[in-house]
Every structure is written in C-alpha cells, then in structure tokens.
Symmetry: C2
Subunit: 196 residues, 2 copies
C-alpha cells in the first residue's frame, strides 16, 4: 500500500506522468522507496479510478499524447490520513543479520568479503542519502525547489527540516551498519587469523 502514498507524496509537489514518476523512483524517492514502472502504471490507473488523482491527456509531439496525473482533494485527504495514522511495523526480515548469525558455517575469507561488501554497500548508500540531505538543505534539489515554490514561505522551514531529518536517520543507520561490519571484520581476524 505504501507505493500509493509514495505516489501521492510525489504528486503533492507537481503533476507527473507515469514515466516521470518512474524516474523519480530511480532517484530521490527511490532512495527511500523503490518501485518498478510495471507497478507504477497500474497503480496510477487504480488511483484514478478511486478518485485520488486525475489524469489529463497532454499533447506530446505531433501524433501522440501522454497522461499527466494531478492529485485531487480526495487524494490530499487520503495522503494526510495516511501520514497521521499510526505506522504499523511489519514482520522482521533481515537477511544480512540472519546470515551473520551463521557465519561459523562460512569460509573466513567469504565472511571477510561479505562484510566488506556490507561496508561498501552502506558507504555508497550513505553517500547518496547524505547528498540528498545536503541538496534538500540548500534547496538545490529540483523536486524540492518545485515543491517549495508551491507553498508559503513560513512552510519552507518545516518542509526542509522534516526531509533533512528523514535522510539523517538513513545516514545514521548506514553509519551503524558500517561500524557493525567493521567490528565483524575484527571478529573474523580474531577467530580465524588471516594467513600472511
């Protein structure tokens, strides 16, 4: 169900075609929520049927049109209700930590490699999240810039502060994961000293 609200969130900033939305899921929003276009197009149609968004045909070249969706008042209401509603935390499913719990079955070098990959992965993610956070804070991110124009100046601080806060959480988590993996590398070296 969250795809729906991710789409509504995007549409609170500006009207978008399915293709535009899909591109956003490849960057920006995609750093928090991923979705392939094969999910996006049908979901947009469903949302239109339910009146949360409105599609309009827009000329595109001489022989073609595209559908641009805008959020409706019902959509805004639904989005607000969702944000206000209490989160429900789904069941836990954490492959990296589950795997780590059984590292005694692995070859020590593979453990090292896996932990290094963990470090690399979260280092990359952290860089993305930190970059997003920076571009939110100085409003250099195009979507943020567009969004901010739509709302009165006294809202700007809140809009920016909450987004920066969200990404800060992701940065912190990445940092924790990296530290954990470093501890893991030290542990492997202790349990199975590397051969020189």
């Amino acid at each position: 169900m969250s795809l729906r609200y991710a789409l509504l969130a995007l549409l609170t900033a500006e009207p978008l075609t399915g293709y535009d939305a899909a591109k956003r899921f490849g960057g920006s929003v995609g750093f928090v929520w991923h979705a392939p276009d094969s999910q996006i197009y049908p979901e947009l149609r469903r949302m239109e049927k339910e009146g949360l968004i409105e599609g309009e045909q827009v000329r595109w070249g001489p022989n073609s049109t595209k559908t641009r969706y805008s959020i409706t008042d019902d959509g805004i209401r639904a989005f607000r209700d969702w944000i206000n509603a209490p989160m429900d935390y789904g069941p836990i499913r954490d492959a990296p930590h589950m795997r780590a719990a059984y590292f005694e079955w692995a070859d020590p070098d593979c453990v090292r490699e896996n932990l290094q990959r963990h470090i690399d992965y979260y280092t990359e993610q952290r860089a993305r999240w930190a970059a997003m956070r920076a571009s939110i804070l100085d409003a250099s991110h195009p979507t943020i810039a567009t969004r901010i124009e739509k709302y009165p100046a006294q809202e700007h601080e809140r809009i920016i502060a909450y987004k920066a806060f969200a990404y800060q959480g992701l940065v912190d988590r990445a940092t924790a994961e990296i530290e954990w993996a470093h501890d893991g590398l030290a542990l492997v070296d202790k349990l199975s000293p590397p051969s020189p």
Copy 2:
C-alpha cells in the same frame, strides 16, 4: 528464498517438525526472520523434494504421526554455499523514513505519537534482541545449548561469537532508530511548540 536458508539453519542444530520450526519463527529466529506456518509447511515439502532435507514419520500418540525433518548432506552443502555467496541487497523500501520525509503534512501531535511509537517499537525490539544476545553468550538459550552439544568444543567460541555479533548489530540499529526518533520529537517541539 531466505526462508529456505532460515529453515536449513534451524535444521543444522536439530531435526524439527514443521510445527517446531513454526514455533522457532515465533521466537529466536523470528527476531531476525519472520514466516507464517502457511509458508513453512509447503517450503519444507519443496525442500524435501529437492533433497535438501529428509522427512521421517514419527509416532505421535496412539493414532497419529508427525513428520520430522532432518538436514541432508546436500542441504548442508546448499546452506554453506548460501552463507559463502555474496549477499545481494534488495531495493530499499522504508516506510517510516518515507513517512517522516512528509511530516509537514501531518498534525504535530500525530507526528509526536508516531515518533513515540517508533521509540516504543524499537525499545521493545532492542530488549528482545539484547535478551537473545545475553542468552546466547551464556548458552542459556535452549536452541543454542542443543546446537553447541552437536559440535566440538573448539567450535563453540565461533558459534557463540558470530551469533552475539549478529544480534549486537540489531541492538545497535535499534539504538540508532530510538535516537533518531528522539531527535524528531525535539524537532517537532521546535517547529510546532506544544500548547500547555
């Protein structure tokens, strides 16, 4: 696919019925990987068909039997291969942080409630994970005790150390989430001072 390896992991400690396995997913393993029994029973049958595990009929009361599964050599090999293989990190889907990025749409009191729930949720989880870690370290956890008996003494340190390490990571993450939510509460108070 990870359910399969979670099941193999359980079966490296001792043979289990589907029901036993399902119970484990309610506790211990369930703190890292969750699965309902409606997934477990069919998966066990599939795994047996593929030769990773072996089911034997065990008497249960005067008029009934149950199926107890044991891991096979092929199963051990498959499990080892999985542990050694490089993790692949799936796409990101983080509802709490996505939601937090749009908190400007929410009622400040709902934001507070949501953040408090976040704190409560991770405080509870952290307690579980910390308790698991403690019962692993002193081998008071029944599954760990059983597991340890099966393997030579020089393996014990590794078995325990990696499991403690895995749960430590989860504890640390929970701590990071709690701190993040606390920062969030401070932010709401700054942006929308509470009415007395």
